[in-house]
Amino acid sequence: MNAEELAAAVEGAVPGAVQAQEDGIDMPTLTIAREHLVDVCRLLRDSHGKNFLSAVSAVDFLGYGDEVAGYFGTESGRDINRTGSWGTPETVAAPAKRFAVVYHLAHVGDGPPERVRLQVLVDDGEAVPTVVPVWPTADWHEREQFDLMGIVFDGHPNLRRLIMPSDWDGHPLRKDYPIGGEPVQFTDAV
């Protein structure tokens, strides 16, 4: 099924859900509206056989497409991504919102996995409904993205830090979080 057919099927069952579709390099990619996410996931699991959630990832698009891609205004003084960092010659369009939460689905059983990617665009502070009722494996995936990216998942049964110490400040994988470590001579080189 390519992206267009899949989008039509999803739109038919859950109107207003699909915001965009694209036949990516490796799998069809649908951009889903936040409020319809759980219904779309349930539809894909029950009617389209996507019984396996591979991964939940979050991407921070702060500064995407700027001339010099890097970390912003860091306090540590070790902004090593600034010197010698070559950005894009032409600008690429940044997505409409700051974060994208990406779900990779597959069909596990007989035959090829027929993977599908769903993405949900959110701003800082907007919550995404949890898909744990649909695929229980999303439990730790969502906790990890909450921990490292600061995305709140509405309705998650156990939303607390998983990877960083429980009293850690900040969300390390965000683009405005510095790389950290210690300043070392000559480390500004790429």
């Binding site: 960083m164 110490p165 390390p172 790389i179 950290g180 470590g181 210690e182 070392v184």
Partner: protein
């Protein structure tokens, strides 16, 4: 068979004394025995732990150097081999395990990550375990070959036999 007692002065002449008796200091004797029975507490964290696991293996056998067993309990171990990258979350347990070891104790920082943070100069990794425990030997490598770790172990043995105090005493004297 009856043994006829013989007086020592007849059996052993003065020049033969060196063949029968070894004279040494208590420190040297203790150093010789403790250097040949260093039992590691493997603090296996990451990739270096896998190379550390091959130390008792048939090929790189460290039991021949006296490190017969890897003691899981820090109370029974002499040498803490910090093998792998130490994250900030792991640093308090590491210090706690070090504190539980009984004196005298030695620490080997195995690999680049425990010596200096290795290739991970970032928010998550402690840049060198010598920030929280006194280290006796650093073994470079990523991961170091088992022979390199054996070399580090032999260096510690040499250090003990030479009478150099373990690293925590040197730190105390510096402070």
């Amino acid at each position: 068979m009856a043994v006829t007692p013989v007086s020592i002065s007849k059996a052993v002449r003065a020049g033969d004394l060196e063949q029968y008796v070894m004279l040494t200091t208590i420190e040297k004797a203790m150093a010789w025995t403790s250097s040949n029975s260093i039992w590691p507490a493997g603090f296996g964290l990451a990739c270096c732990a896998i190379e550390m696991m091959s130390l008792p293996s048939p090929r790189y056998d460290i039991a021949r150097f006296g490190s017969e067993v890897f003691r899981s309990s820090p109370r029974q171990a002499d040498l803490m081999i910090v093998s792998g990258r130490v994250s900030h979350k792991m640093a308090p347990p590491l210090r706690q395990v070090y504190d539980q070891m009984l004196l005298p104790k030695w620490v080997m920082a195995m690999g680049a990550c425990s010596s200096s943070g290795g290739m991970f100069a970032n928010y998550a990794i402690l840049q060198g375990v010598d920030k929280i425990v006194p280290v006796d030997v650093h073994v470079p490598g990523c991961p170091p070959r088992p022979e390199a770790v054996v070399d580090g172990l032999l260096l510690i043995q040499k250090k003990i036999r030479a009478g150099v105090p373990p690293a925590y005493e040197l730190e105390k004297s510096k402070a």
